[in-house]
């Protein structure tokens, strides 16, 4: 079970985020759901790079080779995306604020009615 649990959790988090995004009645809530989807990728990446009994790949306090380490490549991918993802979330929220200003609603359904 432990062999696949992390992958299944990543899949669950992603699907739950997608469900929330599709059924959301508030654009700000939708952006929050997208942030949830995003975290699924971090869980998946770090799960792929984990090594049983491995320690973190930082050699500040032990000599290289003394202990096995987990995969640093996936960690590097995840860590930059955490910060960059936050700024993209900010951009989406800025768009939502503009929508609220111009159309006086945050409900995506009402927005599509307005357009017609």
């Amino acid at each position: 079970m432990m062999d696949v649990l992390p992958y299944l959790v990543a899949a669950w988090v992603f699907l739950v985020g997608c469900y929330g995004l599709a059924t959301s009645r508030n654009l700000i809530h939708g952006v929050g759901c997208l942030a949830v989807c995003q975290t699924a990728t971090y869980v998946l990446l770090l799960a792929v790079g984990y090594r049983k009994g491995g320690t973190s790949p930082v050699f500040a306090d032990f000599t290289p080779g003394a202990r096995p380490v987990v995969d640093p490549v996936v960690q590097a991918l995840a860590l930059t995306d955490v910060v960059v993802g936050a700024t993209v979330t900010a951009l989406l929220l800025a768009l939502v604020i503009q929508v609220a200003k111009r159309h006086h609603t945050l409900d995506p359904d009402e927005l599509s009615e307005l357009r017609g």
Partner: protein
């Protein structure tokens, strides 16, 4: 032992992620998202990824929820009555 910790952290993440989607009020969702940030930090720590955990701690538990709360506040500042009056004025004018 490590396996038990990882499994617990994973289930915690799955539960808080579900809660973050199920909570429909954005202001409350921001708080749940910050809890999700903390549980993710926990998970990344037990997965031996301190770099990512640090990043997640700073961003996920503080920055993103703060941005969401500020957006909610901006959106709520329009009082409903005035918005309605404005809409009617627009419809009457065009």
């Amino acid at each position: 032992m490590a396996d038990v910790l990882i499994a617990l952290a994973l289930l915690l993440v799955a539960a808080t992620a579900t809660a973050a989607v199920a909570v429909r009020d954005p202001a409350r969702q921001a708080l749940v998202l910050s809890v999700l940030g903390l549980t993710l930090t926990l998970l990344f720590t037990v997965l031996q990824a301190p770099d990512v955990a640090l990043s997640q701690l700073a961003v996920g538990s503080a920055l993103t929820p703060l941005l969401i709360l500020l957006s909610v506040r901006k959106a709520r500042r329009r009082s409903l009555d005035q918005v309605r009056a404005e809409k009617e004025a627009e419809e009457g004018g065009t």
